[in-house]
């Protein structure tokens, strides 16, 4: 080998180095893409499961829970209300609902950018959930829009016309639910704590949006439509508490999708929400049972399952913000408060909220939304940061008592929107088709008079 050849060889290491750098960069980029894809796969798997779990809460969960509580002649009509909403709200959501709730719009309602789901596809929407397809986010939120109006149906069970249900629910979704969902969760919504709301209000999975709106609307419906014939002198015992029991257990399981799914990913926050949800339900079941036992002398099965649902309702807004022990406190308080609402307050005022949609969801949602302002902590949810990147204090336990005021404002807005909106919608529905079935149809039972079927054909 001569000198010249040696000089040429001396260039080799530099060339190899340059080549290696380029290779390394490509490798890093590949790796980053692989990590992103892996996270997206994990998050999306959890979100699809959660979406299915939330749908399971409406059918069969709520349908069984409510179906067992009504009289035998109305069980199919009651289940039909839940099922119809699974279909009706889905269509409405695809056409305009998702856009009105999650389009950017103004502080109160979304715009029409996602009309007919335009542009909602496999690419993530970074504002809402950066690691899952926009479609997953859209379908997860749809399941919430389905169960919320289905909850109201408990108030007018056994006496509302089916045509009136279709009109009422369509208008209710448009006038109450989509705007409320936008205000709390939509980008730029008035109460959105994370996306530029003027009054930051913490509602992790729908204490205001789902439970207060449905519960308060239920109360307005019960007052407007009036008592069932014979209430409260005639016996109106639940016709099958076994159905209600199965329904309540399905609700409990489905609620893991509702709350832990609201983390919008398979994260530590999802685990925390999962734990809080479970603990809230357990403590509330005991709270209701204890109150009932002391007051009536017997702990009932209906009391235990009703209590657990109250706890699930109350922990919903708090689930992504509170530690496990505060979750127990929130659940227990909700169990006792809701029991007193249905067993004492309802009897005193004499309104016929047939299946206690207000006593459970209105009262439980309000308790939960307010207590979220007490127990929310950045040790659980550090998404809100100051300019230096330090997590901001969330609730009273973090030294931010003002949050309770914000929560109260959120509660108040939900109450007013639901009450006024529902009253107007009932008036419109009444003028269009009439809300209540004829007296003889009510006596015959809605299964036969509205749907031409009977649930239990033992002779067949």
């Amino acid at each position: 080998m001569n000198v010249r050849q040696m000089g040429w060889l001396g260039l080799l290491p530099a060339a190899v180095w340059a080549q290696e750098t380029a290779g390394l960069e490509k490798k890093l980029a590949d790796l980053e893409a692989a990590v992103q894809s892996a996270q997206s796969a994990g998050d999306n798997a959890w979100m699809l499961v959660s979406s299915a779990l939330v749908l399971m809460m409406t059918g069969p969960g709520l349908a069984l829970f409510y179906g067992g509580l009504v009289r035998r002649k109305n069980v199919l009509a009651t289940m039909m209300q839940s099922f119809t909403l699974m279909a009706l709200i889905t269509v409405l959501w695809a056409v305009v609902g998702y856009s009105l709730a999650f389009g950017e719009g103004n502080a109160f309602v979304g715009d029409l950018r996602y009309l007919l789901l335009r542009g909602v596809d496999g690419r993530p929407n970074a504002d809402y959930a950066a690691t899952i397809p926009h479609q997953s986010f859209m379908v997860f939120q749809l399941m919430f829009a389905i169960i919320t109006p289905a909850l109201i149906a408990g108030a007018f069970a056994e006496r509302m016309k089916f045509t009136a249900l279709l009109w009422f629910m369509t208008l209710w979704a448009l006038i109450v639910y989509f705007p409320m969902a936008h205000m709390v969760w939509g980008k730029g919504g008035l109460l959105n704590a994370f996306l530029g709301g003027a009054i930051p209000c913490f509602d992790f999975a729908g204490g205001t949006v789902v439970h207060i709106t449905s519960g308060v609307s239920a109360l307005v419906c019960a007052l407007y439509i009036g008592k069932r014939q014979g209430y409260p002198s005639e016996t109106m015992k639940p016709h099958n508490l076994v159905l209600s029991f199965i329904g309540a257990c399905l609700l409990w399981v489905g609620w893991f999708g509702f709350n832990a799914g609201s983390a919008l990913g398979s994260s530590a926050l999802a685990s925390s929400a999962f734990v809080a949800t479970h603990f809230g339900a357990a403590a509330a079941a005991l709270g209701w049972l204890l109150a009932e036992w002391l007051r009536n002398g017997k702990p009932s099965v209906l009391g235990a399952i009703s209590g657990s649902v109250c706890g699930l309702v109350a922990i919903t807004p708090a689930s992504g913000f509170v530690k496990p022990i505060p979750a127990l406190v929130i659940g227990f308080v909700a169990g006792v408060v809701c029991y007193l609402m249905v067993a004492s307050v309802k009897q005193r005022f004499g309104y016929d909220d047939s299946l206690d949609a207000f006593g459970v969801h209105g009262a439980g949602g309000t308790v939960g939304a307010l207590l979220t302002g007490v127990f929310a902590t950045n040790a659980v949810n550090g998404a809100l940061k100051d300019a230096q990147g330090n997590p901001l204090p969330l609730g009273l336990v973090d030294g931010n008592p003002g949050q309770i005021v914000n929560q109260a404002i959120g509660v108040l807005i939900a109450w007013v929107l639901a009450a006024v909106g529902t009253f107007v919608i009932l008036k419109i529905t009444d003028a269009l088709v009439g809300v209540r079935v004829a007296p003889e149809e009510e006596v015959q039972g809605l299964d036969l008079s509205l749907h031409g079927e009977e649930a239990y054909n033992f002779e067949a």
């Binding site: 409260p232 016996t235 009932s300 009391g303 029991y339 249905v342 004492s344 309802k346 206690d356």
Partner: protein, 112 residues
């Protein structure tokens, strides 16, 4: 002929049937009924809403027997259905004008 109508506690039905079989009575009609005499009902509470359930489940046995055997049947029912507590039930006895077997038109005690 006499018709003996006994309203008894549902859980005593098997004992009564066995005892009647023991004295050779095996024709009877049984129905599940609801009612109450002096026995008080019970209270049920659903989410604080109280219901007094005063019509309790009972079983009604109906038999038509020759007049000569009526007293024996009545004694048998009493012995087998009695617990000594309120709610044991009652027995009513009626005169029967005629009995007819539909299959072959036997009449009177022959039709029993």
């Amino acid at each position: 002929m006499k018709k003996i109508e006994a309203i008894i506690q549902p859980f005593k039905l098997e004992d009564v049937k066995e005892a009647l079989k023991g004295i050779g009575i095996d024709g009877m009609t049984v129905s599940e009924v609801r009612g109450h005499g002096r026995q008080k009902g019970h209270k049920e509470v659903y989410r604080g809403q109280e219901y007094e359930v005063d019509l309790l489940p009972k079983v009604k046995l109906e038999m038509v027997v020759p007049s000569s055997r009526a007293e024996e049947v009545i004694r048998t029912v009493i012995q087998s259905a009695r617990t000594g507590k309120i709610g044991d039930g009652k027995i009513f006895v009626y005169e029967v004008a005629e009995a007819i077997r539909i299959r072959n038109e036997d009449r009177g005690e022959a039709a029993l």
